[in-house]
């Protein structure tokens, strides 16, 4: 049997047998080389209560080259692209070692959620948010966990307090929201559209204002 297939099959089986780690790996289209891994957001973090899915592609030369992983679930984290889910983690690149497994890599991802590394960001805008105001960042991260990863959200303890600034929670720049609000659109709608278009940070340059207005005009 092909060494890669044997290894991947064993890894999937190991994961199934191991109940304690709470890490799941499922096949996509019956191929053991395209998988979906999932785990729960770690406790004591803004991701708590969320369930995160990761797209896994096993390359031809696995395990000698690293697996390709990216988040399917949208997540607000300095080392994960908020648009594409791309992950910035050393073991997925040059620090990969053939002894690492799918399970250990997913556990590393889980621990990345506990300890963001804003100094080496994938999403500079999120990292900036993290560095300038950690509490506001956590607010947004919790909000994202709630709407994208099925987190507890408003029922959670942190959100029980007074209503927070919705603009910051959506991870948007107040100036941008103001800009479209001044055109006569409702604040809630502006936030909704800008968030949907991912109108944040460096991406702003790629999104035409006309496009935003077009979206805003849609009923």
């Amino acid at each position: 049997m092909d060494a890669r297939l044997r290894r991947v099959n064993k890894e999937i089986a190991d994961c199934k047998n191991d109940q304690s780690s709470n890490i799941d790996i499922d096949l996509v289209d019956n191929s053991p080389f395209h998988l979906v891994g999932s785990f729960d957001g770690p406790e004591g973090t803004p991701y708590e209560g969320g369930h995160f899915q990761v797209d896994i592609v096993i390359p031809e030369s696995y395990p000698f080259q690293p697996v390709k992983m990216k988040f399917i679930t949208k997540i607000y984290h300095p080392n994960v692209s908020s648009a594409s889910g791309a992950i910035c983690l050393d073991i997925l690149k040059d620090a990969w070692s053939p002894v690492l497994t799918l399970k250990s890599t997913l556990i590393s991802l889980q621990s990345l959620l506990c300890s963001p590394e804003p100094r080496d960001p994938q999403d500079a805008e999120v990292a900036k948010h993290y560095m300038t105001s950690k509490s506001s960042f956590e607010e947004t991260a919790r909000y994202w966990t709630e709407i994208y990863a099925g987190g507890p959200g408003k029922t959670g303890k942190a959100r029980a307090s007074a209503p927070k600034d919705e603009v910051a929670i959506a991870g948007l720049d107040p100036a941008h929201v103001q800009q479209f609000q001044s055109l006569g659109f409702e604040k809630g709608k502006v936030i909704d559209v800008l968030r949907r278009l991912n109108y944040r940070g460096a991406n702003v340059a790629n999104i035409n204002d006309d496009r935003v207005v077009e979206e805003l005009l849609k009923p």
Partner: protein, 561 residues
């Protein structure tokens, strides 16, 4: 550039190899063999040429080996350890010696020749027996004497039956399942000094993947967070039976060495394994163009100072790069648009007026305006088709700006067209060679000239192509030359060469008349000699101009004042 005495050993080597006879261009060999800049060699060598030497991969390996040997003897380390140390320090011997003498243990860990010390276990195991303090046991573990290290490792691993051996990797045969492939039928296991065992086939697949897909010669242990590096012999042992990967690995090692030596450069031609050694300094690139040819083929001509894969003499690297950049940039497209089009003052669509009157109607927004003053057509009233607002200040300014932009465009196009023309002719050289070949055969049939006697044609073609390359670049340079007497003299030389080349070119391509072959031969030979001379004059005068600082530029040039 490093100091002269640093490479003195190597230079002695170069002289030796010269005597053994190298492949160098026939007529240039005399000057190129002469490596001494200050002796009479300088007078023999043409002013636009630089000293260099071509080395085969084997010769580079010899240089590498001598570096390795010197480190081996200085540190008294194993033959396998020295290359790793040197590679870790990017072949900077001085830095390696300094750091290694300072703290051998740290350097050894960083260079991947020893696993980092596990504080609680190791000193206790070896310290008591060999040395009184843990500090000295640390020293003895990694060097400087190989024998002492071996004893030390033996002591540390005393609980195990096998003695750790660095040069030949440890082979484990007991029952064990490789943690990578989980294949329980594997019987041969290998590990580096860190003692992380994996089966041989996983090692082979790993090294192949590193070498082939990553072009990486720094093969770290497969275990997580282990930075121990596989020495060459280990790689060789694993790759027995995969000669191609081993050869590629070897080539990567040589490339790594060459890329870290300022006096060496790899021949950029595809699948060529030659290296050129040239001791030109970065500062002298402002006055010299180090065009070199590798020993593999005379067509493997490249510049030692930059990445342009053409003989860009007489232009220095910085200016040549600037010119290429300008030609590749589409800034000139923008320039064209600027001078040939206007924008609709209502919807900002770009409009090119390609005929007709001044009454424009924008296709997109149907705005009607006057092309001359850009004002709305309705204001023109009855003065139809004749804009009387032409002399107003605003439109005058617009007109001036437009003509300035047009002038700079025309100036650029003047140089670019000539550059492109010669480049195009050069590209057609393959055809020209084929045509000339035919002609030469024809000549041998229709006249009593022998094969050797018709070679003048091929020589003429060679010369024409060479001169076209020179001419091409002279236009790139002229574009940036500040106008003045010097530039005029430069352009005189350029014109003379160009005329001579065009004459000769026409002569070679003219139809053959059997009657006058003898005179044709005389003419072509004469003109070839003349063209060669003219080319030399251009190259020499430009090179001398650089040395004398005669050229003034109309733009700031990187690396010049």
């Amino acid at each position: 550039m490093s100091s002269a005495d640093e490479y003195s050993d190597d230079e002695i080597d170069y002289y030796d190899e010269d005597d053994e006879g190298m492949l160098v261009d026939d007529d240039e060999s005399a000057s190129e063999m002469e490596l001494d800049n200050f002796s009479e060699g300088a007078s023999k060598k043409k002013i636009y040429e630089v000293d260099y030497e071509s080395l085969s991969q084997a010769e580079v390996e010899k240089q590498m080996k001598s570096d390795v040997d010197s480190i081996t003897s200085i540190f008294g380390v194993a033959e396998d350890v020295a290359p790793l140390l040197l590679r870790h320090f990017d072949w900077n011997k001085e830095k390696l010696i300094e750091k290694y003498m300072d703290n051998a243990a740290t350097v050894s860990v960083a260079a991947g020749i020893a696993p980092p010390e596990k504080a609680p276990r190791r000193p206790a195991a070896s310290g008591g027996r060999l040395h009184s303090s843990s500090q000295s046991s640390k020293e003895s573990l990694i060097g400087p004497r190989r024998s002492s290290r071996r004893t030390a490792s033996a002591a540390t691993k005393s609980s195990k039956s096998k003695v750790l051996e660095r040069v030949t990797p440890q082979v484990h045969n007991e029952s064990f399942v490789c943690p990578i492939c989980f294949d329980d039928t594997q019987t041969e296991f290998l590990s580096l000094v860190c003692d992380h065992k994996f089966c041989k086939s996983c090692w082979a697949a790993y090294i192949e993947s590193k070498v082939k897909t990553e072009a990486e010669s720094w093969i770290a242990c497969m275990a997580e967070d282990c930075d121990v590096v596989a020495p060459d012999n280990f790689v060789k042992q694993v790759l027995t039976g995969d000669q191609r990967t081993w050869e590629r690995f070897h080539e990567l090692l040589v490339r790594h060495y060459v890329s870290h030596r300022p006096d060496l450069k790899y021949c950029p031609y595809p699948s060529c394994t030659y290296t050129v050694s040239c001791s030109i300094t970065r500062a002298s690139l402002a006055t010299q163009v180090p065009i070199v040819t590798c020993g593999n083929s005379t067509t493997h001509k490249f510049c030692f100072g930059c990445n342009i894969d053409s003989d860009h003499r007489p232009v220095i690297c910085a200016v040549a790069k600037m010119w290429l950049q300008k030609c590749h940039d589409d800034s000139e497209t923008a320039n064209w648009i600027k001078s040939n089009t206007k924008e609709c003052s209502k919807c900002q669509s770009t409009i090119e007026k390609n005929g007709g009157c001044n009454h424009m109607t924008c296709k997109k927004c149907k705005y009607e305006f006057c092309w001359v003053c850009m004002g709305p057509w309705s204001e023109h009233g009855t003065s139809w088709y004749n804009c009387n607002r032409y002399d107003e200040k605003a439109s005058k300014d617009a007109r001036d700006a437009q003509s300035r932009s047009r002038a700079s465009l025309e100036r650029y196009l003047h140089y670019y067209n000539r550059w492109a023309n010669h480049e195009q002719s050069k590209k057609l050289s393959v055809e020209l060679y084929a045509k000339t070949e035919k002609k030469m055969e024809e000549m041998q049939m229709t006249s009593e000239l022998s094969w050797i006697e018709v070679q003048f044609m091929k020589k003429a073609v060679d010369e024409v192509i060479k001169c076209r390359t020179t001419l091409m670049w002279t236009y790139g340079m002229a574009y940036y030359l500040e106008s003045g007497n010097e530039k005029e003299l430069y352009e005189d030389n350029q014109r003379d060469l160009e005329r001579a080349v065009e004459d000769l070119s026409e002569l070679i391509e003219s139809p053959l008349d059997p009657e006058v072959i003898k005179t044709l031969r005389q003419k072509v030979t004469d003109r070839t000699v003349y063209v060669t001379k003219r080319n030399e004059i251009v190259l020499e005068d430009t090179a001398r101009g650089f040395l004398e600082g005669r050229w003034a530029w109309n733009v700031p040039v990187a690396g010049l004042d």
